[in-house]
């Protein structure tokens, strides 16, 4: 087929409705919030929530996770729109609040180790959290992948990683409001480690699934 005949056949289907990246981001975030709100209505909020919200570290972590979710939703859709003018560092933006949250957990662990080692209880690692991870992650992650797939991601691996970072950060945000386990081992093993693992998984899966 010559280029001219290809152009002629393509131009017959010119009309299309424009898709905004912000629309995709809002839908992704909205779906995650809605889904977690639904889960929140099934599980009840932790009874000591008012007390916890008064603690600066808890509140900071909550804000950092919220920021990670907003940034991941926005940036994953932003980089799914082809544009050579987009700065390269944009894709790293969501990792700033996520990194600060991880740092806060590590600092907390160090503080406990140094000052109050009696607060560390290895038995707080509960294997049932695998179920929670899957429950809080799968649907929002899949939905965000579907949103990205509708656009034209030229960095599919990064878009995939940020989609799952959105899902994990929203899941962590919700679990902080619902779950009454603040043990540092639990936080590291069932909040931080899945965030890292699923972000890496999103990177690998996105490379294949979001390629167009």
């Amino acid at each position: 087929m010559s280029n001219q005949s290809l152009i002629a056949s393509l131009s017959e289907e010119a009309k299309i409705s424009v898709c905004s990246p912000w629309g995709g981001a809002m839908r992704g975030l909205g779906f995650s919030v809605g889904f977690l709100f639904l889960l929140g209505s099934i599980y009840s909020l932790r009874p000591d929530l008012a007390l916890k919200l008064a603690q600066p570290v808890y509140l900071t972590n909550l804000i950092l996770l919220g920021l990670t979710a907003i940034a991941s939703a926005s940036v994953s859709c932003w980089i799914a729109i082809p544009d050579l003018q987009s700065p390269h560092w944009v894709r790293l933006l969501p990792f700033i609040p996520a990194g600060l949250w991880a740092l806060s957990l590590v600092v907390t662990l160090q503080q406990i180790w140094l000052n109050r080692p009696e607060l560390i209880h290895p038995h707080e690692l509960n294997m049932f959290c695998i179920k929670n991870c899957m429950l809080f992650l799968l649907l929002p992650g899949t939905f965000q992948f579907a949103q990205i797939k509708r656009l034209a991601p030229v960095l599919p691996a990064w878009s995939g990683a940020l989609s799952l970072l959105l899902a994990t950060s929203m899941g962590n945000f919700a679990l902080m409001l619902l779950e009454q386990n603040d043990g540092i081992y639990h936080q590291l093993a069932w909040h931080l480690a899945p965030t890292i693992l699923f972000t890496l998984l999103g990177f690998m899966v996105g490379k294949k699934v979001l390629h167009w």
């Binding site: 082809p82 034209a152 167009w212």
Partner: protein, 188 residues
């Protein structure tokens, strides 16, 4: 003023905007301009004219498939070249993979040739040759046809005027004898 407004009207951005609204002529014109820009961009990267044309067509199809992501307030060229870049990387990745496969295939072929050479070619061991020479002429011919020259039992039978079963039996006996001779030589 007139020229200015005409230029603005014909800019890539406005052509794309009109295309998104369903103007087929504007879209054809836009794709034509894209083709020219892509050709000049990709010519320096791809030497083979056929590959170049394939890549241009892939880019045009990708532009078509992702035209819903173009935002009218953004410049057109960075959008288009981002897609072209994406496709170009894809193209290089797949051709690199293809080249690797071809290299691996030709290396395999060379190895196979060498293996064959060792078994049946000039390097055919003297002992094997001697053992073959010790067979009666008819049996030697049968072994040569079926095991060296690659004829099937059916073809050999037809050529030698024998039944297929007789060929198989004879070849089997000959191979047995060759093995025995080789063993005897080895023991000596």
């Amino acid at each position: 003023m007139n020229t200015l407004s005409k230029e603005a009207e014909e800019s890539l951005e406005s052509l794309m905007l009109r295309a998104q609204q369903g103007d087929q002529a504007a879209y054809a014109k836009l794709l034509g301009q894209c083709e020219r820009m892509l050709k000049s961009m990709l010519r320096s990267q791809v030497n083979n004219p056929e590959d170049l044309n394939d890549l241009i067509q892939e880019c045009l199809i990708s532009i078509h498939k992702s035209r819903h992501t173009y935002q009218s307030h953004r410049p057109f060229k960075p959008w288009m070249f981002a897609i072209a870049n994406f496709r170009m990387k894809d193209h290089f990745r797949s051709s690199y993979r293809r080249n690797n496969l071809e290299q691996a295939f030709s290396a395999n072929l060379e190895q196979e040739k060498e293996d064959r050479h060792v078994t049946f070619g000039e390097g055919l061991s003297e002992q094997l040759k001697d053992s073959l020479d010790q067979l009666p002429p008819k049996q030697r011919k049968l072994v040569q046809m079926t095991k060296i020259e690659g004829y099937s039992s059916k073809e050999t039978a037809k050529e030698m005027g024998m039944t297929e079963t007789a060929v198989k039996v004879s070849v089997h006996r000959s191979l047995k004898r060759i093995t025995a001779l080789l063993r005897a030589n080895k023991d000596e």
